[in-house]
């Protein structure tokens, strides 16, 4: 099936994007990434501590993957822009996931600051994937600002609660021309499948894979679920009704005519 997601000048075959946080080690992370066949992988940028020069995570990310540094830790647009520039200077391309969070309880993003950061970074030729609370007006502003996709949250980061924002995300899918990629909160493959059935272009999953008892098999499960959901979407998901509709003919019953 020729069903390619084209973004930022790249062809993306696998619509399961994977985050690299919280894995118990880089080796199992690498196995999970390989098993899933992921084409897009996110990383974060942090200060390094003296004397603890840890291993380079990039060595454990398959070469074919598009690397998307996030701006986690940023509390406003200025900090996000600074992190994005540092990530670009590391020489791993010009993709960035903007993530600006001031709320430490729910980890919900600051949409206004996200728009501001998108405006600045779009002028510097970044391919921008903004993480946002699903809101149509803000999504439109992100489109105008130069985003390459819109990444609404399903539920709070790491909460594994699934697609609680479904109806708002559906509005984005219907109204926004850019790829809609649900990011955060998808705890089980069926949630990822549901997003894809709805018409999302992709999903981003981290915690549910990383903290599974067997992250490699969980990565495979998510990948299969994303494929299934996508296929169903392309096949045309039938409308639901509140009353029953027989699936067998209503003629030829074994009774007197």
């Amino acid at each position: 099936m020729d069903d390619i997601l084209r973004m930022g000048g790249r062809d993306i075959e696998n619509r399961l994007f994977i985050g690299t946080g919280k894995f118990s080690g880089y080796k199992v992370m690498k196995e999970a990434l390989e098993a899933s066949g992921a084409d897009v992988v996110t990383v974060a940028l942090r200060r390094v501590d003296s004397g603890s020069d840890t291993e380079d995570i990039l060595k454990y990310i398959p070469e074919k993957c598009i690397l998307v540094p996030n701006t986690s830790g940023a509390r406003d647009a200025e900090e996000a822009v600074r992190i994005a520039r540092l990530a670009k200077a590391a020489g791993c391309g010009n993709w960035v996931k903007i993530e600006i969070i001031r709320d430490n309880k729910y980890l919900l993003p600051d949409n206004l600051e996200t728009v501001k950061a998108t405006e600045i970074l779009a002028k510097e030729d970044f391919i921008i994937l903004p993480y946002m609370s699903p809101d149509l007006s803000m999504a439109r502003r992100l489109v105008d600002a130069g985003a390459a996709a819109i990444m609404p949250l399903g539920s709070p980061i790491g909460s594994n609660r699934g697609i609680k924002t479904k109806e708002l995300v559906e509005i984005l899918i219907n109204e926004i021309k850019l790829p809609i990629i649900v990011d955060a909160g998808l705890g089980v493959p069926s949630s990822a499948c549901e997003c894809m059935e709805m018409g999302c272009a992709a999903v981003l999953v981290n915690t549910a894979i990383a903290i599974a008892e067997d992250p490699v098999d969980m990565a495979k499960a998510f990948s299969a679920a994303v494929r299934a959901g996508r296929l169903a979407h392309l096949a045309g998901v039938p409308r639901s009704t509140s009353d029953g509709r027989p699936s067998s003919p209503l003629t030829g019953f074994l009774r007197d005519r």
Partner: protein, 66 residues
């Protein structure tokens, strides 16, 4: 000389370049990016920049993240 490295107050010797600082701290240059007084410094310039009083240096690298 008093400088701030990764947000922490530290002292470095006079005539210390960024390259020497990185090597003294035992970092692998390929893994890291250096920001010097809020400006990103390309690796080939690390040896040319001498750290001065009250300079602010950030040394960062990639880690896991979603």
């Amino acid at each position: 000389m008093n400088v701030k490295i990764n947000g922490r107050q530290e002292t470095v010797d006079k005539d210390t370049t960024i390259a020497k600082l990185i090597s003294d701290k035992g970092f692998t240059p390929e893994h890291i990016v250096v920001e010097y007084n809020l400006k990103i410094v390309p690796k080939d310039e690390w040896g040319k920049i001498y750290i001065g009083e009250d300079d602010r240096i950030e040394i960062v690298s990639f880690v896991g993240g979603g």
